[in-house]
Amino acid sequence: MIISELKPYEELQQALADFDKLFIVGCAACATACKSGGEDEVFKFQEWLNEQGKDATGSVIIDEACHIARAARDLRHHKAAVQDADALVVLACGSGIQSISSNVDKHVVGGLNSMFLGNVRRFGQYEEMCSLCGDCILNETAGICPVTTCAKGLLNGPCGGMEDGHCEVDAEIECAWSLIYERLKSQQRQGVFARRVPPKNWSRRFQPGRYRLKDGER
């Protein structure tokens, strides 16, 4: 899921300085799961707005805020409250924020910073394991992504900063290449170590990404 966190309150105060009445949008998917934009957080945000002397005209938790048409439909159901507001504040990832901003003419304030595509280690603890690079090497690296979990995204083994199998950037973190090496060894295969990996094809990381299912697949 997309891991996001609430922006600092000082930044939000500035972003909302010109508005008195706000419509709050949350998201029932990722932002609910990582406790940044679910029902609880929307309620808390509303209380905070009140403390700032502002009013909430209403709120909605969209099923998946990244779904552009669904966001449009849910906003239509709250037409009066949306119209009554000076601006909308969105507690969803950057994708969700843009579903909203593309559906209304009003000023849209994003309340969250989106951080990464995260795996859940346990409740409240998230780790980035995939950076959506479009050119997956996991089948050769025993299912551990060096593009993401090596701080430098190296493809041919560890850098000179590895110390006792740990990363130079954070000694608490195990070196991705050390993990890959150990797991391949335990599976008795050479995997990625059998070849010199050529430079990555970054043209596969489409930006902005676009993808369409073919007619028969839809």
């Binding site: 430098k152 190296l154 083994g157 000179g160 050390s178 090496y181 990996v197 050529p198």
Partner: protein, 284 residues
């Protein structure tokens, strides 16, 4: 053919030193330091060392090369994508720079621009491959070059890295990718060096052992906490701490490392960080 490659080919024990470009445009200190160097085959010019922004290594290396000092141009993957790396290598060749030390580079987090976006479009193995490609007359896109560079590409290694086998598979890849010599991270004990050199034997690539002049126990502790891949053993830290003249003790420690290098390696790379005047004493 560079003087460094000739010396190594002839089986001579080589000495390299290193110099960091200034933070700013005043080259006088760097040029004066290089002038004082004697008995050195080539001078490494560091590239935003420790991820601290400084004048371009290529600019200083070009200047030195033009005034007759042979250099080893250090080039890291941290600050440039593959296009910039290729451009810079062609630029280096146009100034007569042949010796290269091709590195991944310390992470930006360690330096004075921690907010910058680290590039790492290539890694050091791919950078070596690319340099070999340029020498063979083609760029990474497979296009022919008008004028082909001549390089003597080298790579770095930390002989003390653990797991050893994992570190060493990358060394082997670097050799496959055309590394013609290695310069090592500072070595602090002979056994580590011996183990590494034993593994290197079948590869037949010369190794220039890194020797660092440590001025004080405080510097040793700083290195241990801040420089990736450098771990000064506690026994040496204590020696420096209890020495009456820590700098002289540092010279003595460096002399010991040079002696190991003479026994086991093909050269020594002296990192004296401003104390270039101590080089004769370290080599004596």
């Amino acid at each position: 053919m560079s003087f460094l490659s000739e010396q190594l080919d002839n089986g001579q024990f080589v000495v390299t030193a290193e110099i960091a470009p200034p933070k700013g445009t005043d080259l006088s200190e760097a040029l004066a330091a290089v002038e004082k160097l004697t008995g050195i085959a080539a001078v490494n010019v560091t590239d935003n060392q420790g991820a601290n922004m400084r004048l371009s290594s290529l600019a200083l290396a070009a200047r030195l090369q033009q005034q007759g000092t042979e250099t080893v141009l250090q080039l890291t993957c941290r600050d440039r994508n593959r296009m910039a790396l290729q451009s810079d290598l062609l630029g280096a060749a146009s100034f007569g720079i042949e010796n290269l030390l091709l590195l991944s580079g310390d992470h930006s987090k360690f330096g004075d621009h921690p907010d910058s976006r680290p590039v790492f479009d290539l890694d050091s193995v791919q950078l070596l491959d690319m340099a070999a490609g340029l020498m063979a007359g083609t760029d990474m896109a497979g296009k022919s070059l008008d004028g082909v560079p001549e390089f003597f590409p080298g790579a770095a290694v930390n002989p003390a890295a653990e797991p050893f086998e994992l570190m060493f598979q990358k060394v082997a890849k670097k050799v496959d990718s055309g590394a013609r010599f290695f310069q090592t991270q500072s070595v602090f004990d002979c056994e580590t060096l011996e183990r590494f050199m034993l593994a290197m034997q079948p590869l037949q690539v010369p190794v220039i052992a890194g020797v660092l002049l440590i001025r004080s126990s405080r510097m040793a502790r700083f290195l241990n906490d801040n420089i990736p891949g450098v771990q000064v053993p506690e026994t040496l830290v204590q020696r420096l701490a209890s020495a009456e003249d820590p700098l002289a003790e540092g010279v003595e420690i460096a002399r010991e490392a040079v002696a190991w290098a003479r026994d086991h390696c093909q050269g020594v790379h002296l990192m004296t960080l401003g104390h270039e005047d101590k080089i004769p004493a370290i080599l004596a």
